[in-house]
């Protein structure tokens, strides 16, 4: 009961001082509300940074992990029953040792809906990617986020000429070697996706891979491009022994 009496006392206290405070001035009141709104805006923006750089990674990694498990399960199941492979969850995995981020699931399309799932997407537009599984000459063009949503290409700037990029499918390891990087280009430069990427210095048809993401980090102002060329294809054996580049 003591508490309630305390409270009523407090209440009467405030009700006595409150009118005084109000009389202190509407301007003071307006300024204090305005100040509180500014502080709120600052906190909300801070939370947005936390959301973009941390929370989206948590969600994307969880989603991509589940899909990757399903892809591997599908591969296992397809071994027993031949037929069309279910590629809805992804067509394979990208391993880039220089990026130090393990395996990246590769899915069809580069819409933000696909890429926000923490995967690398292969281009369907403006230039369609040539998948290595088709065995045709062309460019296997991929995009992934630099920051947030899994940030799968965050360390793209760590790639140097000669570094391996390995694409894993159910049956094959496609081992590419980086031969050229472009640390900054316009986001409208779709020529980098051409089946013969002339900007990288190539003039003949071949089997190329192109990684694209945004740069500098934490922005989307420009694009970072890495080109590689197919070096060899290794059959996947029963133990799925890693090619020597990944060991």
């Amino acid at each position: 009961m003591a508490v309630t009496t305390d409270e009523t006392e407090e209440r009467t206290d405030t009700s006595e001082t409150a009118p005084k405070r109000r009389r202190m001035g509407r301007i003071a009141m307006a300024v204090s509300v305005f100040g509180e709104l500014l502080i709120t805006a600052g906190v909300v923006l801070g939370l947005f940074v936390v959301y973009s750089l941390w929370w989206t990674n948590v969600l994307a990694d969880r989603e991509a992990g589940e899909e990757a498990d399903r892809v591997r399960d599908n591969w296992q199941a397809a071994d027993d029953s031949p037929g069309a492979l279910d590629t809805k969850d992804g067509i394979g995995f990208l391993h880039v040792p220089a990026m130090e981020n393990g395996e990246v699931l590769v899915k069809k399309g580069t819409s933000s809906k696909v890429l926000n799932g923490g995967v690398a997407g292969y281009y369907m537009s403006p230039v369609k990617a040539t998948l290595p599984t088709t065995d045709k000459d062309g460019n296997f063009t991929l995009a992934a986020h630099r920051d947030g949503h899994g940030a799968k290409f965050h360390n793209i700037d760590k790639l140097e000429k000669g570094d391996p990029i390995v694409f894993e499918t159910r049956d094959n390891w496609y081992v590419y070697t980086v031969y050229e990087t472009l640390s900054e280009t316009s986001k409208y430069n779709v020529k980098v996706l051409a089946s013969i990427p002339r900007e990288s210095g190539k003039k003949k048809a071949g089997k190329y891979i192109t990684l694209t993401t945004c740069t500098p980090v934490y922005t989307s102002r420009h694009r970072f491009i890495v080109w590689g060329e197919l070096e060899r294809v290794e059959r996947v054996n029963a133990e799925r022994t890693l090619p020597k580049e990944l060991r």
Partner: protein, 53 residues
């Protein structure tokens, strides 16, 4: 503004503090679950592809 909310929360100081915490968490939840996912595509931070547009 926040003073007004504080004065209108029921209970003693501890109850008020607890309610404030719950309200804050609810606001953060709404921001992370609905507001930020909606706002993100409208902001120019996360385009990674090259394209014609």
């Amino acid at each position: 503004m926040y003073g007004w909310i504080w004065r209108h929360l029921p209970g003693n100081v501890w109850v008020k503090a607890l309610l404030s915490l719950v309200l804050t968490l609810a606001v953060v939840y709404v921001l992370f679950q609905y507001v930020f996912p909606w706002a993100e595509p409208l902001l120019p931070f996360n385009d990674v592809t090259v394209n014609d547009q």
